[in-house]
């Protein structure tokens, strides 16, 4: 059965389908059984993630395309899908807390999270510009709503509004850029951009510039980052964590696919990307210096970290992909861990987004404080954490990448030094003050502890035994189309 001449390979689409079915089931259950406890719905969501992951297992190591070459499933997208599912599970865990916000409608909340993740997985496998746009829109539209689920908190409404206004503008750039690229290449397939990319005609340059601007907005690269602090601060805690990890991973997947299929690493067309990366590393870290709100601080940090990750694309050959994946996985464990500690202490509310609440935390709650210190050390790239090994891979990649690579490496060094102060300040607060001040009470629920433990384990194991990542070699081939 092939309507419209489209070839459909269901096993390749099974992970997406499983999630979609899960989302619909949640909506149905929510409709049919009134007043079901929300953790039942979130539990269903986690089950959907597990089922989806199970259907991914047979695809491991294969390079398949479906939908007439529009959607690829290869080792590259597989790893991104795994990161997205992990993030989704953690987000459900953190949303299940007593004081966690869900906009008063947990069914819609859970379903939107799932649909958002489907968008991310579509992006990870997108092999043409149309699917790319579909994926980004699916991801973004769900997130616009989710950012506002802190209702009736005003900051949350503000976050949703800012996000949707600026996000639509970026989508406009994306779709317009895609149209111009289609005009230049005569095809919407990403791989067909390669010949025109080499010739650099005016239509291509204009189209690629717009596409890049749209992607940079979604990745929160400077100077397209201005929405980040407010949106990160206003969104519910679990959603902020999800944005910081899942959105970044999905959009980086598609950016890497474009760069690696259409360009050589020394292409002149990529220079704007390198400039944007250098700006992000500096702007993100400098902006974080004065933040007193941890969600904002991590927002600025995510700008800088996105800049670091772009650096992985500057190197020669496929090794850049493995570097990028390593760093993204490290970043996922670390960031999710940090958000989980915040959620754990505030029992789901973002009380513990306030930096002052961490004063003397070590003397009240030594274990969460130690975990938080570990995550912030990893973000700063202190040895024996995943962030450190990721950073030396990035440096190695950059230093083998010509003059722009060296410039980015220098920005990485400067940015990291600034970040020592930024991240050190959080740790300093936990250890430097006596604990006798009157501070908010802390939570101690099981669900966030699972996320904290997973984050800490991932951070340490990848930092001490990075060979584990290489042993599985999940990243070496981008599927040819």
């Amino acid at each position: 059965m092939m309507p419209l001449g489209i070839s459909v390979s269901w096993p390749v689409l099974a992970p997406l389908s499983a999630l979609a079915v899960g989302g619909l089931v949640i909506i149905l259950v929510d409709l049919v059984t009134r007043n079901v406890h929300r953790n039942v719905l979130f539990g269903l969501g986690i089950v959907a993630c597990l089922v989806s992951f199970a259907t991914m297992l047979p695809l491991y190591g294969q390079s398949l395309v479906t939908l007439n070459g529009a959607y690829a499933s290869d080792r590259f997208s597989w790893t991104f899908d795994a990161i997205l599912l992990l993030t989704l599970v953690v987000t459900f865990l953190l949303s299940s807390l007593r004081k966690a916000e869900d906009g008063g409608n947990p069914g819609a909340f859970a379903a939107l999270l799932i649909f958002c993740t489907i968008g991310g997985m579509v992006l990870a496998g997108a092999a043409n510009l149309m699917i790319l746009f579909l994926g980004i829109e699916q991801l973004s539209l769900s997130l616009y709503v989710l950012a506002g689920t802190g209702y009736p908190r005003e900051a949350s409404q503000e976050a949703a509004l800012k996000y949707v206004l600026l996000g639509s503008l970026a989508s406009g750039f994306l779709i317009f850029g895609s149209a111009l690229l289609y005009g230049a290449a005569g095809s919407i397939s990403i791989s067909s951009l390669a010949p025109v990319a080499a010739s650099l005609n005016a239509l291509f340059v204009a189209g690629f510039a717009l596409l890049l601007a749209g992607i940079a907005f979604k990745l929160a690269l400077a100077p397209f980052h201005t929405w980040v602090p407010d949106v990160y601060e206003g969104s519910p805690l679990a959603i902020t964590g999800y944005m910081a990890v899942a959105v970044k991973a999905a959009v980086f997947a598609v950016l890497a696919r474009i760069v690696y299929t259409a360009f050589g690493h020394d292409s002149v067309a990529l220079i704007p990307l390198w400039v944007v990366a250098i700006l992000s590393m500096l702007v993100g870290n400098l902006g974080a210096i004065r933040q007193q709100n941890l969600k904002r601080l991590l927002g600025y940090s995510s700008i800088a970290q996105a800049g670091y990750i772009v650096l992985a694309l500057s190197g020669v050959g496929r090794q850049g992909l493995s570097t990028m994946l390593f760093y993204l996985i490290a970043y996922a464990f670390t960031n999710l861990g940090a958000f989980a500690v915040m959620a754990l202490l505030g029992d789901g509310a973002d009380t513990y987004a306030n930096l002052n609440e961490y004063r003397g935390l070590y003397f009240r709650r030594p274990w969460p404080a130690a975990a938080m210190a570990l995550f912030f050390f990893s973000l700063a790239g202190i040895p024996a954490t995943a962030g450190f090994y990721g950073k030396i891979l990035l440096l190695q990649q950059a230093l083998s990448g010509g003059p722009w690579g060296v410039a980015m490496a220098a920005a990485l060094i400067v940015g990291t030094l600034i970040s020592f102060y930024v991240y050190g300040k959080v740790v300093w607060n936990m250890y430097a003050y006596p604990s006798d001040e009157a501070l908010a009470p802390t939570g101690n629920a099981l669900a966030p502890w699972i996320a904290v433990a997973a984050g800490a384990l991932g951070t340490l194991v990848l930092g001490i035994l990075p060979q584990i990542f290489y042993a599985s070699q999940p990243f070496l081939s981008v599927a040819s189309r």
Partner: protein, 487 residues
């Protein structure tokens, strides 16, 4: 196996401590001291190594992008630093018994022990990645100890100076390390003869040298040091000034000089200038200082500047004397800072103009102080003399001008050390009289005694030290080859 035990025993002890309740203070102290002393005892086993034998152990660790191994090694060069670390570590843990804040004692001991492990790891690492990991990792315990466990606003501020300066040094070193490994594709660089382009070698050596100058520290990278040394609690400053300050110089000998012999010679003139500047500036600043801990901090700058001179004079006598000087300075600085800590506990101030005349009531404290101070000013028969004298003899052969300038500092050393000793011990008894008496308690006496014994031993019998170090070296690349044969 034995090497791993020595490296990780302090860390394991720290982890065990985490499971002891905070209120069980005597248990905490006993466990911590037992772990530290056992580490010292085990490390003594490596004394049987001859000058040309080594305990070596290597396990493959990372392959693919580059090669790295978990490669640890104790040889004729490293054994002295390992022994210095385990000795000063055990002494510092014992000194930490008088730590006041009951709530924080456990964290304090844990972090000191973790710090000891990072130092031991650094001095045994034969793989560049492993070395770098410990190099950067040691920032964490010191930063936490300064910010959370020193109890003063000045110390909390000093923590930032320490972190930013040493973090910058670490990142510059990382830049150099990665640039190097991009050429070699392996972190197992010991014994490699590299075919780097001169420019590349020049840059990479510069990155290494800056990091080492910051860590030691040497002029003009020393500005983090006075605050850190002054406001650290005595056990911490004993370890930072006694042991951590040797990390950069050790790495220069173990990694940078053998790997980049040509660049080392190109950079030598500038480094010699910085060395002499450290020697003289440290001495002059110490003379003008009235805070007794800051004073000793500046003497550190001066003495370690002398070791930089020794290395970059490229003379065989001066280089091996430089190693002796480092060990000797480690013992002296640890002893001095611990003794000053005891004095501060008693009189409640560090300002030399606020008190004095302690020798009247505390003759044992005065005697101990006298030995440490005399060793620092280079009295013959104590270890400071042996190191200083041999360095000057050696470097005179190749760098007579710089050596004569350094001689000025030897004279100045008597000025500041006598100022310190007279200011604290002589004259009429002044300042507020403490309740508990001024004299050293038995614990305090016994914990400083091993350091003083080491000072006297190395001073009386420096030949023991020389017999332990390999002698197969020829000029003119003397120091480079020392590093090579030992590493």
């Amino acid at each position: 196996m034995l090497i791993d035990t020595v490296i990780f025993l302090p860390l394991v002890t720290a982890i065990v401590l985490l499971f002891v309740p905070r209120t069980a203070r005597s248990v905490l102290k006993a466990v911590a001291l037992a772990g530290a002393v056992a580490t010292f005892a085990l490390s003594l086993a490596f004394l049987q190594l001859g000058p040309d034998t080594a305990a070596d152990q290597s396990v493959p660790w990372i392959s693919g992008t580059w090669l790295a191994s978990y490669h640890v090694r104790i040889d004729a060069l490293r054994i002295f630093f390992v022994l210095l670390t385990t000795l000063v570590g055990a002494v510092s843990i014992w000194a930490a018994f008088s730590y006041r804040d009951a709530l924080r004692l456990r964290g304090f001991l844990c972090l000191l022990l973790a710090f000891e492990t990072t130092l031991l790891g650094l001095f045994t690492a034969a793989d560049l990645l492993l070395f770098y990991i410990y190099w950067d990792l040691m920032l964490i315990p010191v930063f936490l100890l300064l910010s959370g466990f020193s109890g003063s606003g000045e110390a909390r501020r000093a923590a930032w100076g320490y972190l930013i300066y040493n973090g910058a040094g670490g990142l510059i070193l990382l830049f150099g390390v990665v640039a190097l490994v991009n050429q070699t594709h392996t972190f197992e660089v010991q014994g490699l003869t590299l075919a780097l382009s001169p420019q590349m070698e020049w840059w990479i050596f510069a990155a290494f040298a800056i990091a080492f100058l910051i860590k030691t520290p040497a002029f003009p990278f020393h500005t983090w040091m006075p605050a850190t040394y002054t406001y650290s609690p005595p056990p911490l400053v004993a370890m930072v000034s006694g042991v951590q300050s040797k990390a950069g110089l050790f790495a220069m000998l173990a990694f940078a000089l053998p790997l980049f012999p040509h660049a080392a010679h190109t950079w030598a003139p500038l480094l010699l200038v910085l060395a002499i500047a450290s020697v003289l500036y440290g001495a002059l600043a110490a003379i003008g200082e009235s805070d007794m801990k800051t004073l000793v901090a500046f003497t550190s700058l001066s003495h370690l500047g002398l070791v930089w001179l020794a290395f970059f004079a490229f003379d065989i006598t001066s280089v091996s004397a430089g190693i002796l000087m480092m060990i000797s300075h480690g013992l002296i600085a640890a002893a001095l800072f611990l003794l000053l800590g005891f004095i501060e506990e008693r009189v409640g101030t560090r300002d030399l103009s606020q008190f004095g005349g302690l020798s009247l009531q505390a003759p044992r404290l005065a005697a101990f102080m006298l030995i440490a101070a005399m060793a620092a000013l280079g009295l013959p028969g104590l270890s400071g003399f042996a190191g200083e004298f041999l360095i000057l003899i050696g470097s005179w052969q190749t760098q007579p001008v710089y050596t004569s300038l350094a001689l000025i500092a030897v004279v100045l050393a008597s000025v500041y050390m006598l100022k310190l000793f007279q200011g604290t011990m002589h004259g009429p008894l002044r300042g507020s009289s403490p309740s508990g008496g001024l004299e050293l308690k038995a614990r305090e006496m016994w914990l400083v005694a091993p350091l003083l014994a080491g000072i006297i031993f190395l001073g009386v019998w420096p030949g023991w030290f020389n017999d332990k170090t390999p002698t197969t070296v020829t000029a003119p690349q003397a120091s480079a080859q020392i590093g090579g044969t030992r590493g």
